[in-house]
Symmetry: C2
Subunit: 409 residues, 2 copies
């Protein structure tokens, strides 16, 4: 909806919504605008016409999609709350979802004025920084995840990491369920894993990026960040919904490593067709807060998200939020969830870029000839896609890819 809206004024915030109501549409939207700015359910003496004109939210556009439904754009002056992400969230996604008038209310898009870019750091590393730290200049960054999610000791985790780095992987992440549990303490996990990664880096000339899950309280996260940095690690991961906006922003200001943003819990925001927030709006908050890599699910994933939604999310992560060089806050999308060599060509064809992390678990590790063959097969799939060679032709030239196609039929 905001894609086709072009009357953005400076110093105003624009949010688009899909709504459905049994009430007269215009009146319901005016109520919504009033509730989220100067109004309330009763006319009050202080709400003068001057005050309303200056601070009231405006219904900018209504595109009816049926008798009772519409795509709509509302706007607010930034003067109402200043360039503050938490207060922006209370304004565009606060006491709205409970309004009796609406049977559907979904925040579908967000356009922010330049004041936000000035107030927030944005990503510190993004695509270029992630490529530099991994030493992968071209093609996707091939990733995987430590499994089982919980239960491995630091030593067992490091043994698995050894297999993975020997297999030629570029990127590994903790599971979001593994942070600093007593059976696998964070500091000991970092020490054991980084011994493997540093030693491999000396031999291989490039360092595998491990996203250590530092999710926790503020002090804990800062302490864990420093542990990773001191051990030579190159990435930290955070469960953004569990920590929250202010905590992630604070972490970013302290952080000297890329932040891998895990969106677990995202289904709560996105699954209902009636109530929720689109990733097209949601990811902008976290990009401004300053994460570097964001999960977008993957094609034909094991969850219930459609391919169209996955691709729209990935494209949005790579689309500048503001004008001007280095102001776009682009982040690296992370593809995952049931990914194998089978989804590579479609992913490439849809996006025409490999500026992404492509993570697979079973899709690499269950390769019949082992992890190294799994990684090679995945690179072969990407290489052939990027060169415009079809999958069957590529498979006839590469035994690992051929085996993978048979395995993941």
């Amino acid at each position: 909806m905001l894609n086709t809206f072009s009357q953005f004024l400076p110093s105003r915030i624009y949010a688009s919504y899909d709504v459905e109501t049994k009430a007269p549409l215009e009146a319901a939207l005016e109520t919504m605008a009033g509730e989220q700015s100067s109004g309330t359910f009763l006319a009050l003496p202080g709400e003068t016409p001057e005050l309303k004109a200056r601070y009231g939210a405006r219904v900018e556009r209504i595109d009816r999609t049926s008798e009772s439904a519409a795509a709509t754009v509302l706007s607010w002056p930034i003067e109402n709350m200043g360039p503050s992400l938490p207060n922006l969230l209370s304004t565009v996604a606060g006491n709205l979802f409970e309004l009796k008038q609406f049977s559907t209310l979904r925040l579908t898009g967000l356009h922010l004025p330049d004041e936000f870019r000035a107030a927030y750091p944005g990503p510190q590393f993004g695509v270029a920084g992630t490529r530099r730290l991994t030493g992968i200049a071209n093609g996707p960054i091939l990733g995987t995840i430590i499994k089982p999610s919980v239960g491995l000791s630091p030593r067992e985790t490091a043994a698995l990491v050894q297999q993975l780095v020997d297999g030629g992987i570029d990127f590994i992440k903790d599971d979001e369920l593994q942070a600093d549990g007593p059976h696998c303490p964070f500091a000991q996990r970092v020490e054991a894993v980084m011994a493997v990664i540093n030693s491999h880096a000396e031999r291989a000339g490039r360092k595998v990026m491990f996203a250590f899950n530092l999710t926790g309280e503020i002090d804990e996260m800062l302490r864990r960040h420093d542990i990773v940095e001191q051990a030579g690690g190159t990435c930290v991961m955070v469960s953004i919904n569990s920590v929250g906006l202010s905590g992630v922003t604070y972490l970013r200001r302290h952080c000297r490593l890329p932040i891998h943003a895990h969106r677990n819990g995202w289904g709560l925001y996105s699954r209902s067709p009636h109530i929720g927030i689109s990733y097209l709006a949601y990811q902008k908050l976290w990009r401004l807060a300053g994460v570097d890599q964001m999960h977008v699910n993957g094609l034909r994933n094991k969850f219930c998200e459609s391919d169209a939604s996955v691709l729209a999310s990935a494209r949005e992560c790579m689309t500048p939020m503001f004008n001007g060089a280095n102001r776009g806050c682009e982040v690296m999308p992370v593809f995952s969830s049931g990914q194998t060599v089978r989804q590579v060509q479609d992913t490439w064809n849809a996006l025409s870029t490999a500026d992404l992390i492509y993570a697979a678990g079973g899709g690499l590790m269950a390769h019949p000839a082992g992890v190294a063959a799994g990684v090679r097969a995945m690179r072969q799939a990407w290489q052939s896609a990027m060169e415009g060679v079809d999958l069957q032709t590529a498979a006839s030239a590469h035994v690992e890819l051929r085996q993978a196609l048979e395995k993941y039929a």
Copy 2:
């Protein structure tokens, strides 16, 4: 569901869910338990029976409510994540809502082991502290909210506060849309408002509690807290969903004033009958984090929450989370949203306690004889309810209550 579950073991986390699935129920629940602990969609070599027995989530109970639906209880060992609220959230409400197997998945309850109580501060003031600071020993704390929500200058806000304190109010709060916007800077608002409140306190012998909305980034919130404290203020308000768990926990550790928790955005979690989190689970996270007052909506409110849900939320806020004196983390429920003298008797009858903040906007201020009469009418309504006097009898003895009943018919 957890109310009738009695087999809680120490050092385990219990979460109840309402689920619906087209798949065989037991198998779907085992998948859910696996996804949130040691399993994944493929059997992996590292997931040994020993590991699974120790770290795997367990399906503790399944109460079928129909062919395809059930209320269920799952449990986890605290060893998986330690007593960490953000990591707890990633476990009990993480990558669950997107599972294809389920058409309904709602987290309905939470039972936490004592380790959490040892790790978190809980409320610093609660009911007793709020009563002490307001000087209201008995009956509800009568509250109201600054309206229009945004647009008033600090001076205009203070003028409205003057009317309210002169009218005999106990508690006032900022709107959640008003934090530190350029038209009403936080520091100037505090200065102007506290001049009125302090001066009134000197005359009246008790200080009206004003919940200043300090929502923002971590550093901003700490700075704003100190401004309120130095000006003699007695409460700060935070939009908990906008700030997030780690930010609110951090604020609490610094805070020397009661924290008024505003739940704006709550409809996103609660409105869908299919996907979401019950307040019975949700409020426990924030109580442990350490807020003192929590919004629960009100009877016959202007949103779409049922009275039964409002009352269940309020009761839960007042129910101890853990055993032992001073370990219950009880918070003061805040009633609001379209409240007038009309809902008082039903609220009292349902709860048999007045350990609550009862906030009304138009319900006080639109009284035909003015704010002071509105406050008196509300106290008369509560007094008569608490004494078992019916509303009509009370109205015949009190002119303000009579006028209010006519106004809010």
